[in-house]
């Protein structure tokens, strides 16, 4: 099996799915001639032509809006948003149309759109290249959300998203685009949506994370003098409640890690599910280690904002005292 970086695995998924299904097309800003600002779409224009790997005008709402019409004409568009925070203009289309159109036709028409984008902080970038917008997307009815943390899952989840009959937003942790390396199956490779990955098993405490925070969770687990289970959410929606609650039943202690601001973030949904369905298994409070409820900071001090191994260890130690 070849060893690829996470962003190379994204490229591999796109190439493989475009080979498999000639209605799959990739569209976005700079995805064609340049191959994407992170090279996620490199080589696709040469391989599949400018009609299937399309350099669009600089217009996020127009990209997603035309994708709705392209679906009506029988295409499966994979839309790249160049950066997390630049995806917000497409929220209008996502909320008002992409997530509603199947429902609006009472199931008669499908809108198998994929919106994929690099997300998250820690990359020493100018303002608004660091956001974690997953809660906006997960909150939108009719839309699924996936976030990989390994190269193999980046390929498998994106392939699953492209084949899914519903719209799927795939957020790719740009911090580990090139630092995460691993074996990736060749050819078609699908990781089904809706399943968590048990990264490691343990009995004293569960750390739940996704994206670049999975690695932080693992490092914290290494640093703790306890048996720690680490869960990688992988699909934020639909959530694999079974795996989550089984872990809660086993350990009784949960720390949730997310980069996004705390208030009404995705971690709050995880905590709520645990409270509704697993509260009697808990030995202590569910703790969240998150970004703060502030604008993402100046990059010279961004490490103070990002959940760190030390902050996760600190939360875990407090929880282990219960």
């Amino acid at each position: 099996m070849p060893e690829l970086t996470l962003v190379e695995a994204v490229n591999d998924a796109l190439r493989s799915e475009m080979e498999r299904d000639e209605t799959v097309m990739v569209m976005g800003e700079d995805v064609g001639r340049a191959g994407g600002v992170f090279r996620a779409t490199a080589g696709l224009r040469d391989r599949f032509g400018p009609d299937r790997c399309v350099d669009t005008p600089l217009a996020e709402a127009g990209i997603l809006g035309t994708a709705v019409g392209l679906c009506m004409a029988g295409w499966r568009p994979v839309c790249e948003m160049q950066y997390d925070a630049f995806s917000y203009p497409c929220l209008d289309q996502l909320v008002n149309h992409v997530g509603r159109y199947r429902w609006r036709t009472r199931g008669a028409m499908a809108f198998p759109i994929v919106v994929r984008m690099p997300y998250g902080g820690g990359v020493r970038a100018p303002e608004l290249h660091d956001d974690s917008p997953e809660a906006y997307y997960a909150h939108t009815p009719g839309v699924k959300v996936a976030i990989p943390s390994t190269p193999a899952d980046a390929k498998g989840l994106l392939s699953a998203a492209i084949r899914d009959p519903d719209p799927v937003v795939v957020l790719e942790p740009k911090l580990i685009y090139r630092t995460a390396r691993g074996e990736v199956p060749e050819g078609e490779h699908v990781v089904p949506l809706g399943r968590m990955r048990v990264v490691r098993e343990g009995g004293d405490l569960t750390i739940v994370a996704y994206g670049a925070m999975v690695s932080v969770a693992e490092q914290a687990a290494d640093a703790l003098d306890a048996s720690v289970e680490v869960l990688d959410v992988q699909t934020l929606k639909p959530l694999d409640e079974e795996t989550l609650l089984a872990s809660v039943a086993k350990t009784g202690r949960v720390v949730i890690v997310q980069e996004a601001p705390r208030l009404a973030g995705y971690g709050a949904e995880l905590a709520a599910v645990i409270a509704e369905k697993g509260i009697l298994d808990l030995h202590g409070p569910v703790l969240r280690v998150t970004g703060y409820d502030v604008p993402y900071p100046y990059w010279q001090i961004e490490d103070a904002y990002m959940p760190s191994v030390a902050r996760v260890v600190d939360a875990a130690r407090r929880l282990l005292s219960f």
């Binding site: 217009a59 809006g65 035309t66 009506m72």
Partner: protein, 355 residues
């Protein structure tokens, strides 16, 4: 590609006034086509007038009327083929009737009943777009997708003067221009976006002037002249089929009815202009034209109106005869497969409702 020039300032007209302004001619329409156009105008007019009454009777919900906009809808749709797609805003809610959709379907939409949510593939009529201008990119995307597949179909998208201020209009029109897609952008310029007049909407001398920025030609037509709209749409459709890309049509009227049933325009509108528009309303104008040509008499007028009235009456009866929607439908259709959590929610709701 022909050079894109600013649109003419004047409005294209074909129907005269029966006095000083003579009638013009339009190619390709025979006597039966003229009568069909008339039947379509009367059908939409009857639908609209009856809907206002149904609203007052509490039989449909809030309703956005399109009185005196019928000519734009009938003239343009009649210039298209069945495979061409229509993207309506709420102002064109009943445009599907021109493609054989049952009146009961649209009335059900305004009644909030699921029977009103049609399958667009049955008529090549997209769902009613409620937010402003966000369907312009959809129409551009569909036209683009058809072109990529080598199909001849095109799209037409309807929106108002206020919609041209929206970012979605700009992005959709720009995509259409860049990709040179077979699309007709039909702007219903009735001078008002609820209470905001056109001069508070744009500093452009005309809305058609915007088209040049997207590299597409534009035409300005009298929106109450069904033949002028038909002719302009035929020309735009010919361009689209020839691979020459999108066209912008500005159809100009003055809004002679409220924005919707919840609106009272007396606080802001120019009543003299309303009266003028009502005098020159589009169905009566075409009726006068056909009478001058000797194609219409009192008996035919009465028969066409009676037929339309009966169709809408029967449609309302059918809409009211729909069985009540099952609350379980709340959980359907959002996803291809219902997620487990929604199945749990449905079970819980059933338990509470059945208790």
């Amino acid at each position: 590609m022909a050079q894109v020039l600013p649109a003419e300032r004047g409005l294209r007209r074909i129907i005269g006034d029966g006095e000083s302004t003579p009638d013009g001619e339009v190619d390709g329409l025979d006597e039966s086509d003229f009568l069909e156009l008339y039947r379509r105008l009367v059908l939409l007019r009857t639908y609209d007038e009856r809907s206002v009454v149904y609203h007052r009777q509490g039989r449909i919900g809030t309703y956005a009327m399109f009185w005196n906009h019928e000519a734009m809808q009938v003239g343009s749709v009649s210039a298209l083929r069945a495979e061409d797609w229509i993207f309506p805003s709420y102002r064109e809610s009943a445009i599907g009737l021109l493609r054989g959709m049952a009146p009961a379907t649209v009335l059900s939409w305004w009644r909030g009943h699921p029977a009103g949510w049609w399958n667009p593939l049955d008529y090549n009529v997209a769902s009613i777009c409620v937010p402003i201008a966000t369907h312009v990119p959809h129409a551009a995307g569909l036209a683009w997708g058809k072109k990529l597949r080598g199909e001849e179909a095109m799209a037409i998208v309807y929106f108002g003067d206020g919609a041209t201020s929206e970012g979605a209009f700009h992005e959709g029109a720009n995509f259409a221009g860049v990709m040179r897609v077979p699309l007709i952008l039909l702007c219903n310029n009735n001078q008002w976006a609820i209470s905001t007049p056109l001069q508070a909407q744009t500093a452009a001398p005309t809305l058609a002037d915007k088209a040049i920025g997207y590299g597409m030609p534009a035409a300005r037509v009298d929106g109450a002249d069904v033949l002028a709209v038909y002719e302009a749409t035929m020309e735009a459709a010919a361009r689209a089929r020839a691979g020459e890309g999108p066209t912008f049509i500005e159809a100009v009227t003055y809004r002679a009815a409220p924005h919707g049933t919840a609106d009272d325009p007396s606080a802001y509108i120019d009543q003299a202009r309303v009266e003028e528009a009502r005098q020159g309303e589009c169905v009566g104008r075409f009726e006068g034209y056909l009478r001058r040509l000797g194609l219409l008499d009192d008996d035919t007028v009465a028969a066409v109106k009676a037929e339309a009235t009966e169709a809408i009456r029967a449609g309302m009866a059918a809409a009211e005869a729909e069985p009540p929607a099952d609350p379980g439908l709340v959980f359907e259709y959002a996803y291809a497969e219902r997620p487990a959590r929604l199945t749990d929610d449905l079970a819980e709701l059933r338990r509470v409702l059945d208790a």
